[in-house]
Symmetry: C2
């Protein structure tokens, strides 16, 4: 079991509706030492890639992507979930459905910050149905940039997102893949990964 799986077993809470609460250390209150370790692990897993930019999506993705961008020594770019008056009209847009919030967002990135010369590592905290990741992939490809890989902290392996994205041929690395959760007894089964 790796350091993140151990932490999930220690501090994660399984709730009805396949909700895994990790808000004590990952996506509300954040353990910076753990996030730094996550950044180093993604840097190790994508060490052979030519990465010019790390792309994530607000909000909690930013804290996962920050140490990754530092390890690669590249800028961190985050997609915004709603049009802001501080963003120019010239943007890449993708429609994303949120598993957590049960709503649809337009996800936007300014065209000034993604070009066809960019090699992008996409990072997020959770992967469930994959809508957010697919939106980020479509934004990178709209820019003519290259998706070098995708790094996820926690994948819900019993939902379709991870399988679909791997079948598209992308290198998707999830530090913890949860294959089943039991809200009755708080049980949690991780997928074996080498």
């Amino acid at each position: 079991m790796n350091f993140l799986e151990q932490r999930i077993l220690k501090d994660g809470v399984v709730k009805p509706g396949n909700v895994l609460k990790v808000d004590s250390f990952l996506n509300h209150q954040m353990d910076i030492a753990l996030l730094d370790e996550i950044g180093e692990e993604f840097h190790r897993r994508f060490a052979d890639k030519h990465v010019t930019k790390v792309l994530t999506i607000e909000a909690s993705g930013i804290a996962i992507a920050y140490p990754v961008a530092r390890c690669f020594g590249v800028p961190l770019l985050f997609a915004k979930k709603s049009k802001s008056v501080n963003i120019d009209g010239d943007m890449y847009v993708a429609e994303v459905e949120s598993f957590t919030h049960k709503n649809k967002n337009q996800v936007i990135v300014s065209k000034r910050f993604l070009t066809k010369e960019d090699h992008v590592l996409i990072i997020d905290d959770f992967l469930a149905n994959g809508c957010a990741l697919k939106g980020l992939i479509s934004i990178v490809e709209s820019a003519g940039a290259t998706v070098e890989g995708l790094g996820i902290a926690i994948e819900k392996g019993f939902q379709c997102g991870g399988k679909q994205i791997r079948e598209l041929g992308y290198q998707l690395e999830s530090l913890a893949i949860v294959d089943s959760m039991d809200a009755q007894n708080g049980g949690l089964v991780f997928r074996e990964q080498k």
Copy 2:
């Protein structure tokens, strides 16, 4: 002129309506080396404070607060702008008006992560009318915790927020205070700070 003021002059863009765009390095695409330097500077300015937690507000505040929390070796807690099914009912809530988005949000923090034992350093990227900071202050005080200080990357000195918060007696440190902006010629005047 400090490192952030220099960067704002180099890469910031003044837009009509007193909008200062810093989205190429601070709040959309982020320069991690600059953010790390901001973290070290706040650590220096609040070195005499007993800080147990860094509190910010999503989304771009997270990237400013991350290096600060690392420097202090404490958890990073970010207030969320909308109720998420992943947050328990037991939360501190404040109403915050967004200068940028021209709307009102409920800003929430889970009660599990702020207690009266906490000494909180509040960090955000921008300070204009101060609504966001006042909301975060009210959340910290609802918890019976102590506000040790507030650190802001860019303060709009021609708006009332900074003056009001300093008059309340808090130590508010803004790395760059913009006293005037001119969208016609892109001019920008910083307040002298020792």
